[in-house]
Symmetry: none
Subunit: 254 residues, 2 copies
DNA sequence: AATATCCGATTGTACGGACATTATTCTTAC
DNA sequence: GTAAGAATAATGTCCGTACAATCGGATATT
């Protein structure tokens, strides 16, 4: 278990005159090496004393940077052994891209979807409960069956309120994520989203589309998306095949 | 905005010969003052230099304690102003134990639980897959049926690796959360936790304890808790009655 | 009276050194 | 050969100092 040599790493020199604290400049630089693949999971960093010399800072400053990277989950340290690069560099807790496409890609599957129904309408009493605060608001409705490779995975019913993003339906959401379109085309910022996960037994509609037996347990995920104005912009109800999909979430420490 | 005087606080002296780091002894002492009400939200702590003198430690050690209390959410510091006691002492985003109790309370129900089985053992091949990286590690096993009012809600199987927290079983987790005990008694910091949610059909064991019919869809939640050292410390498998419980999570954007 | 300036209090950043603790590796004794 | 012990290497704890940055209030100026 030999540590990386200083010479093997393209450390970027710190700027002692910058108003940015030295420890933070070092944090950013090491994060760069880890995201760029110059430092890989399981790799052992050079000892802090060597790093401090290489960066031209005191040991205390170097330890400050390493300690903060430890709290943030980038690295783990063990007395007497060394400093190790952690398995998965922390990702933001907030995925703004289409998580279904991403998860399928992670599992080595190709995601695609079939539109079952779509309509431009308004919010009325038959719309999901989460949207009832905006009766009469124009909305875009989309029912899709989404596949991983050739297997149906999820049946999704999406309602998007188009009051602040007219003609949203013109975009191709096979290519772009909703969040990306809202941000670049309408300058709308997603501030918060909530997921509520439950389990239900498959009924006749699910049986047909997801090709499961009646009563098979399905994951029911309700997603609400809110803008920084506080208004809800999207609500989606999704029925996942529980045998082919897991909902997972990571929380990183206070 | 005048700060508390040292004389007004019943600081407990630290033990310089203890193997417990001084900064951690101070952390625990200040937490005691805050939970006991001797220091209230909005209160301003004495300046770090006075505190360090009062505790008989160097400024660096004092800052270390205050810095850790800051990360944990107990206090907030502002250059030029002072150190303030935060509004709500850190809440369980994290605490397993506590989160069930809290959720039941939110729904106006009284939570209690029945221990079905508990044992001190070691990780072996029959242990959950998530723990297989630590074969032979000592662990504490706890199977519980948890109720909201008189209704069974969830069947939980918890494995806690006690390698770095021996005799963890002596604490009463009806009163204290796992996170709080790890933090104050063992100076261990929870860095990350992951939840994986799936759905399964009730089998015979579930039928009996949760009092549901065979095949009823249940929410299967697997929780893994990791320390800042990168090591997993706990894994819990929970079977929730989906008709009485929803898993929900909110993500707030950058 | 309003504005600008200074000053003291407090936290933040950064340097230095000393010794302790932990894990690994190497040596030695049997 | 194996096991105990010694040396080594790494992180952890703790102390000291110096100066910078920030904030609030007091003072001085207009």
């Amino acid at each position: 278990m030999v540590s990386k040599k200083i010479a093997e790493l393209s450390l970027q020199q710190v700027n002692h005159n910058s108003p940015v604290p030295l420890y933070h400049q070092i944090e950013v630089d090491l994060q760069r090496l880890m995201t760029a693949g110059e430092l890989l999971p399981q790799d052992v960093l050079p000892p802090e004393i060597e790093l401090s010399r290489a960066y031209g800072v005191g040991r205390h400053t170097m330890r400050m940077a390493l300690s903060r990277l430890t709290s943030a989950g980038w690295i783990a340290r063990q007395a007497g052994r060394g400093t190790f690069v952690r398995e998965r560099p922390p990702r933001p807790a907030f995925y703004l891209d289409d998580s279904f496409t991403r998860q399928m890609a992670n599992m080595g599957m190709v995601a695609h979807s079939r539109v079952l129904d779509s309509a431009v309408s308004v919010i009325d009493a038959r719309s999901p409960a989460a949207l009832q605060e905006h009766p009469g608001a124009p909305c875009f409705y989309l029912a899709r069956l989404r596949y991983g490779d050739a297997m149906p995975i999820v049946l999704q019913y999406a309602h998007i309120i188009t009051e602040r993003c007219p003609h949203l339906e013109q975009f191709d959401f096979g290519q772009r994520s909703l969040y990306e379109v809202l941000s670049t085309e309408y300058a709308l910022v997603v501030q918060r989203l909530t997921h509520t996960v439950s389990a239900v037994a498959a009924d006749r509609v699910h049986m047909e589309h997801l090709r499961v037996r009646r009563g098979t347990p399905l994951l029911l995920v309700k997603t609400s998306v809110f803008l920084d104005s506080g208004d809800i912009i999207e609500h989606t109800t999704s029925y996942y095949r529980a045998d082919r999909y897991e909902y997972s979430v990571t929380r990183t420490g206070a």
